[in-house]
Symmetry: C2
Subunit: 231 residues, 2 copies
DNA sequence: TTACCGATCGAACGTTCGTTCGATAATGAA
DNA sequence: TTCATTATCGAACGAACGTTCGATCGGTAA
């Protein structure tokens, strides 16, 4: 079941783009259109439950027509996740670029993520829920992007702690993953049309996390550690 | 694809248990054995990707033999989730029963959940990851148990805020779901054999969450709710 | 026009799936 | 023992799946 193609990530896209200049737009747009339809289907019923026939109906293209743009169902999922993760990572990096204060960085990072979530809910649901649906080289390619995002968030957190609570003995991995847990679980319960505004949700998540790590850092870091094992 | 049987939850189990007293043990044990094998398979490859043939191989029972104990693949998933959620809910309620201090309640609740997770990782992964794989009446039955767990956690949180930060203007739903996000995301990254001890992880999650809601409650609750973050 | 090439399609192929059927072996009561 | 019930199994069925094939359509360069 696991794919094992060693192809470069952008091989097909680069090859296509080099051929013509007029048909390129049309081809890319058509592929994007199919991927957007697939994103809706994957988000609604899940990747495994979704069939290529459902995708063709959503994209209003014939079954064989879809295979003119992608080799396999797995590649559709790969392209969705690759584009979404890279787009999110780029956008967060952009908004973070001019900011030096770690506190402000954390605020902006969470706010940007929540805003991106609200603007691309189906895509981010597919990214959060289908993390193990890819295998082989495709999984590794996605993992590389995910690791970049992890390092970005962890870096912000570490600078925050260095500045405001340098003596804290907090496990940075646990802290980072608890934030990702909150953010990646959003698709299960947060409906921007029914609940609070994205801004308000981002603000509360940020406030909770910031006071959380700072407060826990001083509690767990100052005195002697009790029963649990630590350094 | 969605099941629509209106049967009572324990119908088959109650019927079986009333027939004999000797064969009941054997029958129940055999069913549990099959469910445990299915739990491993579902956790490893996912519910949709998993086939009944994989389950039969893991349980070392023939294909038709499994259908002597369950009507369908969907019922297997239902039984796994129903038993796991009820077992977790019961255990948390038990450990919480004698405690009145909300701070202590939160500590015990998180610690019990993490301990249960470590002791039943495949089962809790199936519960966290396959929440939408059931449909119809089965989904509603599970949803009822999940709501009980939600209310239990939210009640602890509300009593905590009432006691320590009664003036806070924190959205309780967002706060509760952020905790569930952290807990339900554990299966993605926490490996008790490699990382910190369950006790240490539970302690840090508890500390972060408690300082988070208390700190954010005072920050967001005192002054007028403006646009940016104040204080 | 002609010749070509990418885009699109209906139809089919081989596989795997969940589930069922009929028969056989094991079990316990009489 | 005999008999009825339960447990187990090999084999098969029909449906749905991902994917492929060969033909046709439509636009473009010469």
């Amino acid at each position: 079941m696991i794919s094992r193609k060693p192809e470069q990530v952008f091989a097909s896209e680069a090859r296509r783009a080099a051929v013509t200049t007029d048909a390129k737009e049309s081809y890319e747009d058509r592929l994007t259109h199919i991927l957007e339809a697939a994103t809706q289907v994957f988000a609604q019923v899940g990747y495994e439950r979704a069939s290529m026939r459902m995708v063709t109906k959503a994209a209003r293209v014939s079954l064989a027509g879809v295979y003119h743009y992608v080799d396999s169902k797995e590649r559709v999922l790969f392209l969705i996740q690759f584009r979404t993760f890279n787009s999110l990572l780029t956008k967060v990096r952009e908004t973070l670029s001019g900011i030096t204060d770690p506190v402000e960085q954390l605020c902006v990072m969470v706010r940007t993520h929540v805003n991106y979530f609200v603007a691309n809910m189906p895509a981010l649901k597919v990214c959060s829920h289908e993390l193990d649906s890819l295998g082989g080289a495709a999984y590794d390619d996605i993992l590389r992007v995910r690791r970049e995002y992890y390092q970005l968030a962890r870096g912000v957190l570490e600078r925050l702690m260095d500045k405001l609570a340098p003596d804290a003995e907090l496990d940075m991995h646990v802290a980072t993953m608890s934030l990702f847990g909150t953010l990646n679980w959003l698709y299960r319960w947060y409906d921007p049309k029914r609940g609070k505004s994205p801004h308000a949700v981002a603000r509360q998540i940020t406030a909770q996390f910031m006071h959380g790590v700072l407060g826990a850092g001083t509690e767990l870091g100052e005195g002697a550690t009790g029963t649990g094992r630590s350094t």
